[in-house]
C-alpha cells in the first residue's frame, strides 16, 4: 500500500498540471469561438432573445414578478437542462476526441509526451469551460433580462430577496449539467463513431428515469439537477414528459451523487483512451 502511494506521489504532478493548462489553452483558442458551432450558440441564446423581445415589447407590472420567476425556472428546468445543455454538450464534447479523429488530427496529441489520461482530462476541462461559459452567460443574460423590466421591484427581488440565491442555483445547475452531460458525451464519442443515436438513447433514459427503481434513478444527470432547482415547476401537458419526479434528496447529496457519477464516467473514459488505437481508415 505504501509502495503504491509512493509511486503515485512520485508521478510528475507539476508537469501534468502544466500540460493540462496548456492543453486547455490550446483547445479554447482553437474551438471556443468557431462559426462551425453556430448551432450551439443558437441553442444557448434562443431563450435569451425571446426574453429580450419580451422585455422590450411588453409591460412588466410588479405583480407579474413571481410569474416571471416561475417562467425563468421553467426555462432552466425544461429547456436548458433537458434540451439546450444536453444537445450543446453533445456538440461540444463529442468533437473533442471524435471530431479530431474525423478530421484526422488527433494523432498529433497521441504522439505528444503527454499521458493519455491527462489528454482526456485536459480536453474535458476545455469542453467544460466552453460549455459553462456559453450556457452560464446565456443564463445570466436570461436572468438579467427577466428582472430588468421590473425596475425597483426587480432590483429589490434580486438584491434583497431570493433572486441572487436563485441565480447562484441556476449557475450551479448549469455547471453540473455541463460537467455531467459532458462526461457522458465524451465517453460516448469514444465508444461510437456517431454518438448521436447513443445520445438519443440517453435522452430517452432521462425521460423514463423517474419511473425506474430508485437505484437506477441515480444513473441520471437530470434527476440530480432536479433536486437543485430553487423553484419547482410542475410540468403540464407536453412538459410533463420533460419533468423528472424523483425521490426527494438533499441538495448536497444530489451534488455529491452527480460528482460521483461524473468521476465514474471519466474513469472509464480514461480506461478507454488508454486502449485507443488510431485507425483513420475506419472513420
Amino acid at each position: 500500500m505504501n509502495q503504491t502511494l509512493r509511486t503515485v506521489l512520485d508521478l510528475p504532478w507539476g508537469l501534468y498540471w502544466l500540460q493540462t493548462r496548456r492543453l486547455v489553452r490550446i483547445e479554447l483558442r482553437r474551438n471556443l469561438l468557431s462559426w462551425r458551432a453556430w448551432w450551439i450558440y443558437f441553442l444557448a441564446f434562443v431563450p435569451t432573445v425571446i426574453i429580450l423581445v419580451h422585455l422590450l415589447k411588453e409591460s412588466h407590472p410588479a405583480f407579474a414578478l413571481t410569474e416571471d420567476s416561475n417562467v425563468l425556472a421553467g426555462i432552466v428546468q425544461f429547456y436548458y437542462i433537458r434540451l439546450g445543455i444536453f444537445f450543446g454538450c453533445l456538440g461540444i464534447f463529442s468533437r473533442l476526441i471524435r471530431g479530431e479523429m474525423i478530421e484526422r488530427s488527433v494523432h498529433y496529441y497521441l504522439l505528444a509526451p503527454i499521458r493519455r489520461e491527462i489528454l482526456l482530462l485536459g480536453k474535458f476541462a476545455a469542453g467544460s469551460i466552453s460549455a459553462v461559459m456559453l450556457f452560464g452567460t446565456a443564463i445570466i443574460a436570461d436572468y438579467a433580462f427577466i428582472y430588468a423590466g421590473f425596475g425597483a421591484a426587480g432590483q429589490d427581488y434580486v438584491f434583497n430577496g431570493p433572486g441572487l440565491g436563485q441565480l447562484e442555483a441556476y449557475l450551479g445547475i448549469t455547471v453540473l449539467g455541463c460537467l455531467g452531460y459532458g462526461a457522458v458525451f465524451l465517453l460516448l464519442s469514444m465508444m461510437f463513431r456517431n454518438p448521436t443515436p447513443a445520445a438519443m438513447l440517453v435522452l430517452g433514459w432521462e425521460v423514463i428515469n423517474p419511473v425506474m427503481p430508485s437505484v437506477l434513478q441515480k444513473i441520471s444527470v437530470a434527476s440530480y439537477l432536479r433536486h437543485l432547482m430553487p423553484l419547482s415547476v410542475p410540468g403540464d401537458g407536453i412538459f410533463a414528459l420533460l419533468t423528472v419526479q424523483t425521490e426527494a434528496v438533499p441538495a448536497w447529496v444530489a451534488t455529491l451523487g452527480l460528482m460521483a457519477l461524473i468521476v465514474v464516467v471519466l474513469a472509464y473514459s480514461c480506461f478507454r483512451i488508454r486502449r485507443l488505437e488510431l485507425r483513420y481508415t475506419t472513420e
Binding site: 490550446i26 497521441l110 509526451p113 488510431l278
Partner: protein
C-alpha cells in the same frame, strides 16, 4: 537504457485482417528503410513503433521504453505520419509551438526550437501563413519540422519525400543523413527507392505482413542466392573481358554498357568471379578501371524478392 529499437515476435491483427505477423528485429542507430508493396505492413510497423496501434502479440520497445510510458517515450520519438491533415485554422508557427508547449517547456524554449525546426526544413516565411494555404510539399515540410522540433533520438518517417520537388527531396535526404550522423535512429518508408537507398544503412523488406529480408543492403543482396549478382566493370576492352569470364564458366549473362566502355556481368558465384577477375587484371590484357556491384541496391533487391507482388509504396 539500450540504444535499440526492438521488435520481438510482434503481431498485429485488425480483426481477422493481418497487419504484421511475428516480426522480430533489433535496429541500431542509423537509417533503416522499410520497403514493401502497398498494404505490406510498413505503416502498421511504424504505428506499432509509436503506439498508435497496440500489438496483438509479442513485445516491442524503443530505446528500452514502450509507448505506454508517454511522458518519456515521446520526448525521444518523433513520428512524421502519412496523414496529410492538421488542426484547423493554425499557422505553421502555431502548429509547432502548440506541439512543443505540450512537452512542458518554457515559451522561450518552444519558440527557439520551433524557429530551429523551420530553418532546418527550409520552410521560411511560409511558417507564418495558415497551413490551409500550404502546397503539398510545404505541408510535408511542416510535418517533418513538427517531428524533429523537440530533438528526438528516434525519428519515424512515413513517406517523407512525398510531394517534395527534387531540390526539397535532396535537402530532406541531406537532413536525414545529418541526423543519422548525430547518432539518431531514422526509420523511413519511401517508394523513391533510388534516393533513400543512397543514405540507408540497412533495409527491411516486408510483404504481406512478413519480413522477407533485413539487414545491411549488401548483406541482404548476398543472401539472395537464387538471383545471380550483376557487376559493372569499367575497362578498355569490355568484349574481351566478357569472353574471358565466360570461358571460366562463372558468368551467366553479359551486357555491354551503352557507352561501350564497360560491361555488366551476371554471376552465380560472386567470390569465384572476383578471383577470376583478379587473374585477368594481373594478366594485363584488359585494363580494368572500376568494378562496382550493379544490383545490390534496394530497388533491385525489392524486384528480386517481392517485385512480383506490385510496386513499392
Amino acid at each position: 537504457m539500450n540504444d535499440r529499437i526492438l521488435f520481438d515476435d510482434v503481431s498485429k491483427f485488425y480483426g481477422e485482417v493481418l497487419g504484421v505477423n511475428k516480426v522480430s528485429f533489433s535496429l541500431p542507430p542509423g537509417i533503416t528503410t522499410l520497403v514493401g508493396p502497398n498494404g505490406s505492413g510498413k505503416t502498421t510497423l511504424m504505428n506499432l513503433m509509436t503506439g498508435l496501434v497496440r500489438p496483438s502479440g509479442g513485445h516491442l520497445s524503443v530505446l528500452g521504453l514502450t509507448p505506454a510510458d508517454a511522458d518519456r517515450f515521446f520526448r525521444m520519438v518523433g513520428y512524421c505520419t502519412q496523414f496529410d491533415s492538421f488542426p484547423r485554422r493554425l499557422t505553421g508557427w502555431d502548429f509547432l509551438l502548440d506541439s512543443l508547449m505540450l512537452h512542458g517547456m518554457s515559451e522561450g524554449d518552444a519558440f527557439r526550437l520551433a524557429h530551429e525546426a523551420v530553418d532546418r526544413v527550409r520552410l521560411g516565411e511560409a511558417a507564418s501563413r495558415r497551413i490551409e494555404s500550404y502546397s503539398k510539399g510545404m505541408r510535408q515540410k511542416i510535418r517533418l519540422a513538427q517531428a524533429i522540433a523537440h530533438h528526438p533520438r528516434v525519428l519515424v518517417l512515413d513517406e517523407p519525400l512525398n510531394g517534395l520537388d527534387p531540390i526539397a527531396r535532396a535537402e530532406s535526404l541531406a537532413l536525414f543523413q545529418e541526423l543519422s550522423r548525430q547518432g539518431m535512429h531514422l526509420v523511413i518508408s519511401s517508394h523513391i527507392l533510388d534516393e533513400v537507398d543512397r543514405i540507408s544503412d540497412r533495409v527491411i523488406l516486408i510483404t504481406g505482413g512478413y519480413i522477407v529480408a533485413e539487414g545491411d543492403i549488401h548483406q541482404v543482396r548476398r543472401e539472395v542466392r537464387d538471383k545471380p549478382m550483376q557487376v559493372l566493370i569499367r575497362c578498355d576492352q569490355p568484349e574481351l573481358l566478357a569472353s574471358r569470364v565466360f570461358v571460366s564458366n562463372h558468368c551467366v549473362e553479359a551486357r555491354l554498357h551503352q557507352d561501350g566502355r564497360g560491361v555488366f556481368l551476371r554471376t552465380a558465384d560472386i567470390d569465384q568471379f572476383y578471383r577470376i577477375l583478379n587473374e585477368i587484371a594481373v594478366e594485363g590484357l584488359v585494363k580494368i578501371e572500376a568494378v562496382a556491384p550493379a544490383d545490390d541496391d534496394t530497388s533491385a533487391i525489392y524486384q528480386y524478392l517481392i517485385g512480383s507482388e506490385g510496386g513499392p509504396s
